[in-house]
Amino acid sequence: MSAKSRIVVAMSGGVDSSVTAALLHSQGYDVVGLTMQLYDHGAATAKSKTCCAGQDIYDARRVADRIGIPHYVVDYETNFKSEVMDRFADSYIRGETPVPCVLCNQTVKFRDLLKAAKDLGADALATGHYVQRIEGANGAELHRAVDPDRDQSYFLFATTQAQLDFVRFPLGGLTKPEARALGVQFGLHVAEKPDSQDICFVPNGRYADVIQKLRPDAANPGDIVHVDGRVLGRHTGVINFTVGQRRGIGVGGEAEPLYVVHVDPENARVIVGPKETLLRNAFEIHSVNWLGAGQGPSEDGAPLHVKLRNTQPPMAATVFGEAGGKARVVLAEAEAAVTPGQACVFYDGERVFGGGWIARDVGIAHLPHNLRRGAAASAV
């Protein structure tokens, strides 16, 4: 791209995207800032009615003023509600542990915002993600960030090749302290702004409250059942539990610590067991996005590394491609808490090869027959 190229920067009002905009502007690009209006902050936090333009939009606007670039707010509330928040709630209700940041990147950010950038005549869309885009022999490649603590590639596995060709990640080669130092250097008032925590529309981390609000009828009390079949107690709704959870289960008196092993929304049951019952060697994934060579992972098995959670280092696995965008992942070593709804992201060294969603029926085969979905309640 030439220096005269127009680049739209997705500005959240945080330090990373602010530095991204300032950096590109300093390099001579024609930078335009866009901030997405995604949800009613007042409604999400259940606080009293606040102005619809929150602090983050204000910050983005002031940063754009400081840099001297045009800045606009685009309203994607409707799509964010139906494609991110509602799907987040529905996924939880199905007993999964969703990753809404991936949905957001897939929909409003790399579809709607990307289209807005093209409508504005931009040559590229840049974000403040810590991930690297490297021009390869066969088009743009996605690579892990230089700073392993900051790497956000897990949340970008669903980026398609066409999207990757259009987007830029100028911070992928920097560490967070380097980005903050640039923020200070550019005189940005957000340079020391704290990192955002958790999911943006769940500011206090209380997922169950948000789900209750989005799907008021979802609360469905039921039994907490041990993998050996004993009913240990009652719970107020499956949305309060995720696979792998140890704290706050609300049953005591067992010899060894108990973990949530399976969430069974159809029967309103939460299945718990000792740690070893969480271990899995293999699982299914769906909606695979493939960024490697060919149309997808080989049917004969592709030797890769996978991450099943953002915070975990990649581990060795073989991914067997299947029809219909599915794949079977066989881990070199058994792993605890293969959590339905989470992403399984493929890595080949530092390069991201895409990934898929962990299927919701993971682990069901490991349960005693009387605890499998559809089993008669009387059997328990």
Partner: protein, 386 residues
């Protein structure tokens, strides 16, 4: 005291002048949001900056400031068919509307659905009157509402709509209201300087704003006949109808701008020709474009139209990046883009309303601005048709 700032032209009259602070690199077509400062206003404002006294003070400094305020009041009265005693200075059109509706002693209200947000927000529980497809308040619905409204009842209908520019039949509204013993409030903020405004035509209250006619922002007026309950209380300013030390400089700007109203009106035929030229070019570029209120009497400077499949926000951003200022309906201070309540009241569906933009011209607008607008907007129309 004067503002020591070089003027960019002089001697040719404001009709051919660019406004003093105008960013001459841009084409400004958003006069209904706000107008550039008139040179005559700037001169009067600069002149008044030395009169720092408090108009309520007894001494000479206070009297000097007081005289400026009263001079302005008389100028505004003279150009709006009001008497000076009826004019209450406010912080703008919004406060004037709020004061008229909340400060009057009405048992019920009947409000046009196309009114400004400040009117709608001050009339909770009011009967809302719809509009025709051309954007004109529905007089039959008004009469029906008047029959059953508890007395005293206020009817609020604006003189010209800020989004479509459609003029409302105030003579008919007043006649109808009077036949039922109702009071009439008229928001004339967008009309002043664009069509003749005459408070003596039977209205009971009327709102005005300085910055729409080339004055400063932050000052407006309510013309009110009768008893009013102050909404901002404290001192006895504005005959106990609006407390607080007067915004002397703002009021001076308003008075100076009011004195230019005849010249603004004299420029209207020129503005109308430019607007009509713009609309014929819009039509040529996008035969599918809907021009709202096209068949009704409209402000000569305003054009509101939609471009199917291209959102208002995209059109506004694209034009801004091309150096042309327009707006998506009324100016919105937040990020949320709701479809225009005015277009919805006219029966336009929400999807179409989200593709509408407003272009509003004024005294600095020239043919070159229209050309620049069309050159920037045309590609959007072609892409939408492709």
């Amino acid at each position: 005291m004067s503002c020591d700032r070089p003027k960019n032209a002089s001697g040719t009259g404001f009709l051919v002048l660019k406004a003093p602070m105008a960013d001459t690199a841009r084409t400004y077509l958003d006069y209904n949001a706000t107008a550039p400062l008139l040179p005559q206003v700037e001169a009067a404002v600069c002149e008044s900056l030395g009169a720092f006294g408090n108009p309520s003070s007894v001494h000479g400094s206070g009297r000097g400031a007081r005289a400026l305020v009263e001079d302005a009041r008389e100028h505004i009265a003279a150009h709006t068919g009001a008497s000076a005693a009826e004019i209450i200075f406010t912080s703008g059109g919004t406060e004037a509307n709020v004061l008229a509706l909340k400060g009057g002693n009405y048992a019920s209200m009947i409000v046009a659905g196309i009114e400004h947000a400040s009117v709608l927000a001050s009339a909770p529980g009011a009967v809302i009157i719809g509009a025709t497809a051309q954007g004109i308040v529905d007089l039959n619905a008004l009469e029906d509402a008047l029959k059953s409204a508890p007395r005293p009842v206020l009817v609020a209908v604006m003189l010209a709509n800020n989004e479509t520019g459609v003029l409302q039949p105030l003579d008919a509204v007043v006649a109808l209201a009077k036949s039922y013993g109702a009071f009439v409030h008229c928001d004339a903020v967008q009309a002043l300087g664009k069509v003749p405004v005459d408070f003596s035509a039977g209205m009971d209250s009327m709102s005005l704003s300085a910055h729409k006619i080339g004055g400063l922002k932050g000052v407006g007026a309510l013309i009110f006949r009768g008893d009013l309950n102050a909404q901002i209380t404290g001192g006895g300013q504005e005959r106990r109808r609006r407390a607080g030390t007067e915004n002397v400089v703002g009021i001076v700007s308003f008075g100076a701008a009011a004195r230019e109203v005849p010249r603004l009106l004299a420029d209207i035929p020129r503005v109308r020709a430019l607007r009509d030229s713009l609309e014929s070019k819009v039509r040529a570029a996008a035969p599918q474009a809907n021009i709202y209120g096209e068949g009704a009497a409209r402000l000569a400077n305003t054009s509101c139209f939609s471009l199917a499949n291209v959102s208002s926000e995209t059109q506004v951003m694209r034009l801004d990046l091309a150096g042309v200022s327009i707006s998506a309906g009324s100016a919105c201070s937040s990020g949320k883009i709701a479809p225009s309540h005015v277009l919805l009241a006219m029966g336009v569906n929400a999807a179409e309303a989200k593709t509408a933009v407003r272009v509003s011209l004024g005294w600095t607008t020239a043919e070159a601005d229209i050309t620049r607008f069309i050159e920037a907007w045309q590609p959007l129309a072609f892409n939408a048709a492709a």
